[in-house]
């Protein structure tokens, strides 16, 4: 009976308009970009590059990942754009653990990034999976970078998987109001502090807990076990000592273990913990919450050596889908990142990273935070051989995680765990 007026979508009717709009958008974009380039600019670089930033789980805190990435990027790309005003840098962020999946899809679409700011471990993985390309740099440029850092990024054929940009040391973060005498300088002192009511937070992840290995003399044992070598009685004792300390710590009322590093950061920021091991990239977030009460120190060692923290190295890897022009911009941008002046600015601006350029000393005299970071970075060199062996071996790392968890939950005694650990790592 009633005949409503029928209105239907007419997609094809608007197709030409969409195409026209597209053409206009491209023309507008070109006009806009041309307008941004000063007439006096002598730069031959012109275009847009896409930079993907991998965000680690402990960095996904209060501020949005884009803001963090934009901050990280701003540190050197703004200076780069002063030299090359025709260049625009588009930033995208993804969780570091999702990068491989995301980049694989983008590679198949031709929409992959030109540059990727990721952990060195991820950069090696990307190269192994053929998701990044090799870019050669002149020897004089590479000469400026810490050789160990470069070696960690070298492939079997000697080429570099990526170019280092910054290092983020692992340090001790604490609340000065609760620890007026500063951070403890030994693992034993840390246990004692927990007995005095100081609330300490530790991670259950072996990589974040690895700093305790050095002070208890278990590093050599782990290296030997990883290398399929028989362990000496002293090395077994070292392993047992390390695992016993972890179990002892887990039984302390004042020490809590969390499987997620970001929880430790949040709890220190909110005043629920007094001392944690943290990453220098967390310092900004902690400063916002704790202000002047935030203390930063080197991680405590022990009678058997200094702490063995693991530095996080942030590197620039190169994408596969770039046009020749984008490749050139990406290369120039990465090269610009290790420029001494840029490295110094990166270090000083936020006090949350160390330079990778060995000719750029961190101003430790004027900053206790930077001093702590530098000492942690030095300490981490001890851990390098073990970590290199472990990081390349996901199976061994998983096995180590499992054993450590069992020890923490007292499912395994330290002596039993020390006996089975070498076989498991092999």
């Amino acid at each position: 009976m009633r005949r409503p007026s029928l209105h239907r979508f007419a997609p094809t009717g608007t197709l030409q308009q969409i195409v026209l709009l597209g053409v206009l958008a491209v023309a507008g974009w070109l006009a806009l970009r041309l307008a941004q380039v000063p007439a006096t600019s002598t730069s031959r670089l012109w275009g847009t590059v896409y930079l993907v930033v991998g965000i680690n789980s402990d960095e996904r805190l209060d501020s949005g990942p884009r803001e963090q990435a934009a901050e990280a990027l701003e540190r050197f790309s703004s200076d780069f754009r002063k030299l090359h005003p025709g260049v625009a840098v588009q930033v995208m962020t993804f969780p570091e653990e999702d990068l491989v999946r995301e980049l694989r899809l983008r590679k198949q679409s031709g929409l992959g990034p030109d540059l990727m700011l990721v952990n060195s471990r991820t950069a090696l993985e990307l190269q192994r999976l053929n998701l990044s390309r090799i870019e050669d740099f002149p020897a004089e440029k590479l000469f400026q970078i810490e050789p160990d850092m470069l070696n960690r990024l070298r492939l079997s054929n000697g080429q570099l998987a990526a170019l280092p940009l910054q290092q983020l040391p692992q340090v001790a973060c604490f609340n000065r109001d609760r620890l007026p005498n500063g951070s403890p300088d030994s693992l034993d002192a840390l246990l004692q502090l927990s007995g005095q009511g100081v609330r300490i937070g530790l991670s259950t992840q072996t990589l974040n807990l690895f700093w305790t290995v050095g002070g208890l003399g278990a590093g050599e044992a782990l290296l030997a076990a990883q290398g399929d070598q028989p362990l000496s009685p002293q090395q077994v004792q070292g392993l047992e000592r390390w695992l016993a300390w972890l179990q002892n710590a887990s039984l302390q009322q004042g020490i809590t273990f969390h499987d997620k590093q970001e929880l430790l950061i949040q709890k220190l920021a909110s005043g629920h913990l007094d001392w944690i091991s943290c990453r220098s990239s967390n310092l900004n977030v902690l400063r916002q919450s704790l202000g002047a009460s935030l203390g930063v120190a080197r991680l405590p060692g022990g009678r058997w050596g200094q702490a063995t923290p693991i530095n996080r190295e942030r590197v620039l890897a190169f994408g596969l889908n770039s046009s020749p022009n984008q490749r050139q911009i990406a290369r120039e941008l990465a090269s610009f990142g290790i420029n001494p002046l840029v490295q110094r600015n990166l270090t000083i601006r936020n006090m949350e990273m160390l330079p990778v350029n060995r000719f750029v000393p961190a101003p430790v005299a004027s900053s206790t935070v930077l001093a702590a970071m530098v000492r942690s970075a030095e300490d981490s060199e001890q851990a390098t051989p073990v970590i290199r062996a472990l990081i390349g071996n996901e199976k061994a790392l998983g096995a180590l995680d499992s054993i450590v968890s069992n020890v923490l939950f007292t499912e395994l005694t330290p002596s039993r765990a020390a006996q089975i650990l070498p076989a498991t790592l092999r």
Partner: protein, 416 residues
């Protein structure tokens, strides 16, 4: 907002890549060619149904060739799938039309399915060019002191749209259940559906305001602004809205009711925010009447307490027929007509003694007020047949005309 525009403009940078441009061309050229050929070349009419499948096949084949040759292919395939999905939506609509009324399908398609599809597609494309999660965090300024991100605003708009558009069917279902459970009549059931819908829209909009982080002060400020707006500009709109709600609650005008508008019975089809839509049977017209009209003017309804209508036909019978017999015949005749209710029983009345006939009225009841004209017509025909059968004459005035031959002053006896 600048940041958002910067991001959007930045997507065009992908056009620097030959692999992206080639994939775009691979999709655009066949799709455009199919469209243009379909419109501009009538000679190709027999091929018309095959043009789009041909375009889709070309896109799929091109993507396959790109993949086999080691070039990026996923973007063109994604765009092709989007094109295919859009065409499939049209087919889905046609299939659903076999089972569901066409107007319902078109509403569903135009208001929900196609917008939802476009939204999903837009997000999927953006996620290929950029990161949707990143874009969601882009700040687009402050609103009443509350920082507003693109993601929040987008979610608020989508949810508000879904609440407004999508709340109808669930509200109707809930009203149907209530109608069954509480033994309400159909009009009340429809009223409950509309009230439930307004309620869910209201709650949804409050949720959206809360999601946006608007504090009480901001809401008060908006309310203050609205008050001014209502006072000056949108008084009528607001008045109609309140009138509509009031009418629903009062139950005087509800969807399904039959009202007498300008001498015609009209059925209320819907009671909207601003106006009621009524259907007039006489000419199949839809009347859009502001709610305020019912609120301020007298309304004649046939469906206030029940849906019965008392109808009446008038007929004259010659003086020689016994009125009692005529009345009995009229009453009996009415009962034979479909649509005339036996209870209350039809009633014949002698109205008056006219110039050429005794005037009778036959009053009877019908169940559907909208059928008045057709039932009256049927009763009139039955009366004619019955009178004819019983030899009852329906007299009518007869006029005899003749031509005058002389002056009325000469011939007229009255002059004497």
């Amino acid at each position: 907002m600048d940041q958002f525009l910067h991001e959007v403009i930045g997507w065009l940078g992908y056009l620097q890549r030959g692999s992206v441009v080639s994939q775009l061309l691979l999709v655009a050229v066949p799709a455009l060619a199919a469209t243009l050929l379909q419109r501009r070349l009538p000679a190709l009419a027999p091929l018309r149904p095959w043009l789009r499948p041909l375009a889709l096949g070309t896109i799929a084949l091109g993507s396959l060739l790109l993949a086999l040759s080691g070039h990026p292919w996923r973007f063109s395939l994604s765009l092709g799938m989007i094109y295919l999905g859009w065409q499939a939506l049209g087919l889905l609509g046609k299939l659903l039309e076999l089972r569901i009324p066409a107007d319902v399908i078109h509403q569903l398609e135009g208001r929900l399915l196609r917008p939802a599809y476009l939204l999903v597609v837009a997000l999927a494309i953006i996620n290929q060019l950029d990161s949707v999660q990143d874009l969601a965090t882009v700040s687009i300024g402050e609103w009443f002191g509350v920082p507003l991100s693109l993601g929040r605003l987008f979610a608020a708009i989508v949810i508000a749209y879904l609440v407004i558009i999508g709340s109808g069917p669930p509200a109707r279902a809930m009203a149907w259940l209530l109608q069954r459970a509480l033994a309400m009549d159909e009009g009340s059931g429809r009223a409950v559906a509309v009230i439930l819908r307004y309620l869910s829209v209201g709650i949804g909009l409050v949720w959206v305001a809360n999601h946006l982080g608007l504090n009480a002060n901001a809401i008060l400020a908006i309310a203050g602004g609205l008050s001014l707006g209502i006072g000056f500009g949108i008084k009528e709109v607001f008045s109609n809205f309140i009138s509509g709600l009031w009418l629903l609650l009062e139950g005087s005008v509800r969807p399904g009711d039959v009202l007498f508008i300008d001498g015609d019975p009209c059925e209320v089809r819907s009671l909207g925010l601003r106006a009621a839509v009524l259907w007039r049977d006489r000419d199949n017209a839809e009347l859009v009447i502001p709610n305020q009209t019912f609120f301020t003017a007298t309304t004649t309804t046939y469906t206030g307490s029940d849906r019965l209508r008392r109808s009446q036909v008038l007929v004259g019978a010659a003086y020689r027929h016994d009125p009692a017999g005529v009345v009995a015949l009229l009453e009996a005749t009415a009962l034979t007509v479909p649509g005339v209710l036996a209870h209350p029983a039809p009633r014949g009345l002698v109205l008056n003694y006219g110039d050429s006939a005794i005037q009778y009225a036959l009053r009877f009841w019908i169940a559907n007020p909208m059928n008045n004209i057709s039932t009256c017509s049927a009763v009139n025909m039955a009366v004619w047949q019955a009178f004819r059968g019983q030899g009852i004459e329906i007299p009518f005035p007869q006029r005899v005309q003749y031509s005058m031959t002389g002056s009325p002053h000469q011939d007229g006896p009255e002059q004497a």
